[in-house]
Structure formats: C-alpha cells, structure tokens
Symmetry: C2
Subunit: 196 residues, 2 copies
C-alpha cells in the first residue's frame, strides 16, 4: 500500500477546506500531519496569502465561495493567520498513542478556529478541545510546554520540508506531491490509476 | 449573456495548458486576452514560479504531469520565462480586426513556444506565425514597433490589473474571478449554475 500523507497548517483556510473534502473526494488511509508553515514560508520565500496584494483579496473571496459551494461552515477568524504552535504540539503528543483520537482533535481544532471563532493559540482552549476528542485535558496542558513535544513539532515540520512540502494543504501519495485543495480530484485519479 | 474573459501570459505554462483545456472543460464564447504578467507580478509582489525555491521544482514536475494527464504536447523551453512582448503586441493588433484570427494566432504562439521550442520573442517568428494564422506577416512585422500597438498592450494589461487579475491563467465570468488552470471545473460549474 502506498503511503498517504495530508500535510496542513491549522491556520490555513485551504487546509481546513481540504480536511472536509479529503474523505469525500479522495478517500483513503491518510496520515494527518499538521506542520508550522512559517518555516516552509521561510524556506520557499512565500508569505501568507492575505498579506499579498490582489491575491489576498482573491483568497478571501475564494474561501467564502468554497464555503458556499460545499456547505462547509466558515468565517475568516478575526485574528488571522496565527502561529498554530499549541494545537500542533497537542496533536503530535496525542498522535504518539492514538492516531484516530489525534485526527478527531484536529477536526475539532479546525472547527474551533474557522467555524466557531475560537482562539486556537490558547493552551486552555487546546486542552479543552483535546478533552472533547477523548483525551486527558490536564495531561495535554502540561505536555504542551515540554521540550520533547516542542522538538517533535520541529522534527515533523523539518521532515515535511525535506519531502518538498511548501504549502497547505499538501498531499503526498507515496512520493508524488500535490499542492492545494483544488488538486484533490487529481489526487483521487492518481490513487485510482497508480499514477500516469 | 455574461462576459467570459480568459487572461493569460504567452510565457505561462499553466496558461498554455488552460488554452488546451478551456474548450474541453468550460466551453463558451471566451475572449482571449494575452497580458504581460511582469506588470502584475510587480503589483502583487509575486515572482515567476521557477524562481521560487521548492515551488519551482514542484511546478516543473506538475507541468510534465499535466502534459501526460491530458496528452498535451509540452517541453519546458530552454529560455524560460520570457517577456512575451512581441506576440502580445501582434495579438492585439490582429484582434482589432479579426478576433478569430487572433485566437488562432495565439494557439500557434503557444504551440511554438511550449511544443516546438521556438523563440517567440523574435519578431520574425511572430510574423511567420501570424502569416500561418492567415494574416499579412509583413504588415504584422511593421506594426510591432509602433507606439499605438505598444500602448494597446499596456492598456490591456492595466485593464486586467484593474479587474484584479494577478496570474495566468485567470478567468472572469462576468466579474467573478477564478485563478489557475485547476479551477476550470469550478468555472464550468459557475457558468452552468450562474453562481452560488
């Protein structure tokens, strides 16, 4: 079986939309991999979309349009983008023992930020969401500041960069890279055909 | 009837692929509008894809993959990107009198650059392609350096920028903007449904 990796930043609207569309459009046994795009942007010379003239206006409109097109709840957060350090750390700490729980947590984080307008940079919010997903919230809270967990997020982000990941969402089917939410139909075709 | 505008730069591989896919995926009475993206890049702070680390490598691979996926002949030109001034001027000069001829010419320019490896910045090549499309090659050659034609290309590019166009390909269905070759299915859906 070919590996399926879904890279995203919790602060990325296109990552959020992809988290909803992935199972609809290209179902499979995806490994969810939150990373911190700030590092990727440094390496690739990119900047957050909303800071770019013209492109930023287009992106805002496009996110609203995607929300209406697929019926996905979405409101641009008032503080945007954010450094999604806390939820990324919590994810990888949870993922060590229970990938399914970590994935439920990731979906709750995305929903909290892009649908419920919550501050996902706040450790207590992150712990509460982890508890909702079925984890021990207090344990998550105390894990967030440990060096081991900090190092884990850095290592995951570095590993993604080393595989050529430079944006969110980014999909790797084996080693074949696909960038962007609107590439999901191509991803599905690649998975069905095993490439071309 | 809503207006359909297809903006592209003759030096853009994604513009080239879109020129092949437009009629297949989102058929309609598109106005072909070559512009000079250098100006748009200046306004939006973008740079040519191939100059961007990581993203450039991805784009090169993606162009080959699109070529195989759709059976569209394609080789990355040895000199790339280029300032497509001469063919853009010729296009708009031809378009004044015969939009169908100008479109045939545009298809020949794209083919010359991305399939046949020709230098589309050379005025004589441009004149020859115009002749192939059914125009008077010598008249095109002498028109290329005139102030009126220079001004026309600048005005078309400025008008595109004023409408929010910042990349290639870029589609406007009425005033609804769509950026990128992989948005053509969404463009088609928007055209069918009249928006959502």
């Amino acid at each position: 079986m070919v590996s399926l990796d879904f890279y995203f930043d919790f602060s990325s609207p296109y990552g959020y939309f992809a988290s909803h569309l992935l199972d609809r459009v290209a179902p499979g046994d995806w490994r969810w991999q939150p990373i911190l795009l700030g590092a990727a942007f440094k390496a690739s010379g990119n900047a957050p979309l909303v800071d770019q003239p013209m492109k930023g206006d287009y992106a805002r409109r496009d996110w609203d349009r995607l929300s209406r097109q697929y019926g996905i709840p979405y409101t641009l957060p008032t503080v945007f983008p954010v450094g999604a350090v806390a939820p990324s750390r919590a994810f990888w700490w949870l993922d060590q023992h229970d990938a399914a729980l970590a994935r439920r947590f990731a979906q709750l984080v995305f929903h909290a930020y892009f649908a419920a307008g919550q501050d996902i940079t706040a450790p207590q919010t992150v712990a509460d969401l982890a508890a909702q997903a079925g984890a021990d919230g207090a344990a998550v809270l105390s894990a967030l500041g440990t060096d081991a967990v900090k190092q884990m997020v850095r290592a995951k982000t570095d590993a993604a960069l080393a595989r050529g990941v430079f944006g969110s969402p980014f999909f790797l089917v084996g080693d074949e890279p696909f960038w962007g939410c609107d590439r999901l139909p191509m991803v599905a075709q690649w998975m069905r055909q095993g490439g071309w």
